[in-house]
Symmetry: D2
Subunit: 147 residues, 4 copies
């Protein structure tokens, strides 16, 4: 497997995931090259990330006073082509939590258990009113890392 | 050409359009059948409709007190397949204005001047605050039909 | 309820559906007006239509000699706004089968059992090689109507 | 500005671009947070990358014997929110060409000349028939870097 900067050891990395959602590839998400378009994985990352954040109450109420995470960057490595009709599971976990940001990792597995996609992206925890980064509380930090 | 309920005479209908925008077909809007996906024309209709409404000041300020048009229904007839790389012009005009609604017609022409798509859809003119249909003034009616 | 040309009696029409799939509204399918974008229902129609066709073997093998149905037109009536997080079921059925075409009807129900969307569209049964319309066999006709 | 791994000095980096295309943000590419959805930049990257590759004849004929570049990874840094109605220019250039792969960089500028997005991604040059990486000729290498 090719070298990916955010993955030291692929087996350890893969074993670190537990939360996942099934991805239903839509026909409109394919392209004329016959496979899933390169843009579509970012749709799946977003869907999985939101489901993940919901489980710890960080997506439910964007108008609260306690902060919300927003996307600062995103990246995807395409390891296997994906096709319409494939059953994909998309795994998400928080790799690292800093004072005001967190690093989210993504992994897509196909039906054979092969890794189709890997990805990561930093989120910044901001105050919805001011838009400024705010401190992530220990409680939230723990919830993010334990999931 | 097949019979389309909202087109009496195709030549007269076609001649009724003057406003158009060029459509830039995106690669991600194709699908694995090799052509532009059936969903994509509705993206183009929306883009053209908004550009059209902007020209008469009906999209600029959704928070005004004077009403805004919202989509009540949409339809599209697929006359020719469309392909990536094709240069498409999408025409829009208002076919009919009632008391509180308007009927918008759409036509896509390819580089050969052939009709690729026809379409229509009703918009209801509502008050942004209440969400209730409101009367379209004579001034707006005239602007919509003259364009 | 407003008058919709392809629905005579809404209760009878609604009772005619049995096949449905759950629709998972994606965040990227919303728009800045805060609800599901007007284009997105056509993504859902396509997804449901393909799942429906698969159940009677009309999507599995596009390279067969026995014909495949392609979309000739599509329309959607927006009865209720849809929002991110809503659980939508999308129903599909064949309303009518002609010699070389079929009329497909669509209905989206929200969690309260209210109709969010209605829709329809004609499909033409073509030979994949020639692209020409071909006769729908009695066997397929029966399968389409019985589902 | 925050640290981005693929940008050493932002002014030098920015000055390295010359090819760009205007991006027309579509209404359906916004989301309920009121801005352009996080997925949409990858649509724009693809559009700009294809236009760039076309100018040196690397997208015209995917069935040639001389190889075609495919996407191996993609990443995007979101520096400024983007909004519907904004006029964005998307710049593309090849940062580095190896034996069988190239590194493509992306930069989006808004109307004020501010950087909204930066990005990069590796493409692998493959033989369309075998799918295997093949050598990038000196001629193509030169064309890629000179653009």
């Amino acid at each position: 497997m090719k070298q990916i900067s955010y993955i030291k050891d692929i087996d350890t990395w893969r074993a670190g995931f537990s939360f996942s959602i099934p991805i239903n590839i839509r026909f409109s998400e394919t392209d004329m090259f016959g496979h899933v378009n390169n843009v579509s994985p970012f749709i799946y990352f977003e869907e999985a990330r939101i489901e993940f954040l919901k489980t710890i109450g960080l997506f439910d109420d964007p108008n609260n006073d306690e902060g919300m995470p927003i996307v600062a960057d995103l990246q995807c490595d395409y390891l296997q082509q994906m096709f319409f009709g494939e059953k994909i599971n998309l795994y998400v976990r928080v790799d690292h939590v800093g004072n005001t940001s967190l690093d989210v990792h993504y992994m897509a597995l196909n039906e054979k258990g092969e890794i189709s996609l890997t990805g990561r992206g930093r989120m910044v925890y901001i105050h919805p009113g001011t838009g400024k980064p705010i401190q992530i509380t220990d409680e939230i930090k723990q919830a993010l890392l334990e999931k």
